[in-house]
Symmetry: C2
Subunit: 416 residues, 2 copies
Amino acid sequence: MSEIIGHTGNVAIDSQRLWASIMDTARFGATPKGGIRRLTLSEEDRAVRDWFRDACEAIGAGVEIDELGTMYATLPGTDPALPPIAIGSHLDTQPTGGKFDGVIGVLGGLEVLRTLAETGTRTRHPVTLINWTNEEGSRFAPAMLCSGVFAGAFPADFALSRTDRDGITFADALDAIGYRGPLRAGAKTLAAHFELHIEQGPILEAEEKTIGAVTGVQAMRWFEVTLTGNEGHAGATPMRLRQDALVAGAHAILAIERLAAEHAPDAVATVGLLECRPNSRNVVPGEVFLTVDLRHPSDAVLEVMEQSLRHILASLPAGIGVTVDKVWDNPAVPFDARLLDAIRAGARAEGFTPRDIVSGAGHDSAYTARVCPSAMIFVPCAGGLSHNEAESATQHDVAAGTAVLLRAVLEADRLL
Amino acid sequence: MSEIIGHTGNVAIDSQRLWASIMDTARFGATPKGGIRRLTLSEEDRAVRDWFRDACEAIGAGVEIDELGTMYATLPGTDPALPPIAIGSHLDTQPTGGKFDGVIGVLGGLEVLRTLAETGTRTRHPVTLINWTNEEGSRFAPAMLCSGVFAGAFPADFALSRTDRDGITFADALDAIGYRGPLRAGAKTLAAHFELHIEQGPILEAEEKTIGAVTGVQAMRWFEVTLTGNEGHAGATPMRLRQDALVAGAHAILAIERLAAEHAPDAVATVGLLECRPNSRNVVPGEVFLTVDLRHPSDAVLEVMEQSLRHILASLPAGIGVTVDKVWDNPAVPFDARLLDAIRAGARAEGFTPRDIVSGAGHDSAYTARVCPSAMIFVPCAGGLSHNEAESATQHDVAAGTAVLLRAVLEADRLL
């Protein structure tokens, strides 16, 4: 396979080497079920960062670190006046994540750099491979925090002051693994930002397509909700006198499920995190904290969904106190037409028919699109499953996406 | 007040001293909201145990410790052939418990022993004050674990091998605070077991009664339920393809709420503890663990409720795996008629009209009733609130209950 895929004239990626890198780094945070638990700025994250730095330096790519720990590995171009073309994604994972989400974007990018380096292929622009800190947002909310700072969506101090559920700040976690660098986040000007990623949905697999040309990212909003009832003894508090916060939470969860159905098939709505307090089997729950994730390709529909959510939370059983915080609001993002053309052309050159697709998930490219031309390539994952230890993609498809990535980078180097 | 309440001939309890002991020990595990967090076998539990031992030894009551950490403080009687009359309850609390649940039973008993000791009142039977280990069951399930072993409901090894949610065993926690004693649990023969407790329900307050003569404890059953769905990306997994374990949990919670309503007004049903996995805001929940607590005064009705619960769990949305474990099954317990007469007589002698009442909550006396005559005294708590930091009882009512307890012990000493 590696002899066929990715042959761009005399420049071809090495599918075996790419796959070996994915499997090799999967040991950092490996879980018994075959997934990865590599929370951002954890000891496992430090280990994979060290590996990544060594791998980049081994091919002569200089590595810079910014003030938020984001890593930039650059092969120089022939024209010193041109800004770099970037390839970026992330090496952090969900608490029970898989081996491919984020990883193939960074290690596919590494395979592109290795191929350029070993074949002596010189681009006009420098090519910079980026490992963005904290894409997942599961330890420090919100997600895509550091590409967000890069794009000016948040100040760096906002990122540094985020805390995890144990009260540890992003800044302390960053210092603990030794990855606070001197570069200001956002200091670099990029000519373009490409990102290779698994689809994390079922469409490509269902349609037997290998390459998705991602035309944009759907709009999404995150909410944090606290429901306050009244604790009481589970045996001695009559049902009629209860204000049970978990029962109120159950009403909310089912109403949020119906809310998504009202805007089918494109809407998704998820209560992914719930904490019950005091969480004791013989105490009527006094407080529930839960998160709500609402997404839709249309900003206008998402606004209607938010209003419905607020109505749901205002209609919970009597006696339940409700607070709602909107902690994240990301409008729909269209990707760059020229970069998409380069991706589609690269796919066809590799023998694939590209399929235009909208991303259901957020990605660092949704932020970079604010400051430079950006676009993404999707490859299928089994069953559309992601954020799951059973997440799976084939060597063939990951190599195909990487080959298209290489072609798109070279095409952008000609165009831009 | 202390001069009036509890005067039984020349023997009167000291309401001020009793109240001071309650407030003094409330510092062990005190919470900012005025409650107590004194989980069983924790460092806070050790501290209050040390206080309790010192207080008992100061009045000449010898303290024995059994293999599960239960403490027995005994004032000798005049007839060496007679087994002790016991007064027992517990000093452990819920994670966000109040100052009275369990505490007034032990410290009310201490006040009875102090009164006997300082007035030189000699009973025929020894009088033994018991601090039962792990009544609450919130750190180590099930509740009333050690009175259960005492009564032969479980072997001691079962108790020692229980683990908390962090995987720490009861045995290790017991050794860590230095409270594993030489006495075999269940070695003692008791002539009777009295327990003073707050009602933990709203009835006495609503009817303006001070003393409840507790005729028994309702039946209760505990279940642990695991719901298994499928994790997926919250943005990219279409609603129709989800198996969301938390949505399934919400269906179960509301159906369990309706189940209690079908057996109103006596039935109670509570989901008090829920853990969502992986509990990340942008992951469709793959697994939910929850507990179910069902109670009813009638064993037969509770059996119908259990069958309904099993039907509910078998009817959850398609694709959700369900496991159900019944971890505790306690039948309804009637208390001893002679001890109840002693309590009612004591209440009337103190100027109160006793109110017969069924306990909604489990108590150590529900187990001791299997091996010796047992009965309980209830006093009101504000709003019926318990298992809550705002739990509240008045000095008057606690002293009244203690005075009745003293009279009941002296009456039992004559009768038995």
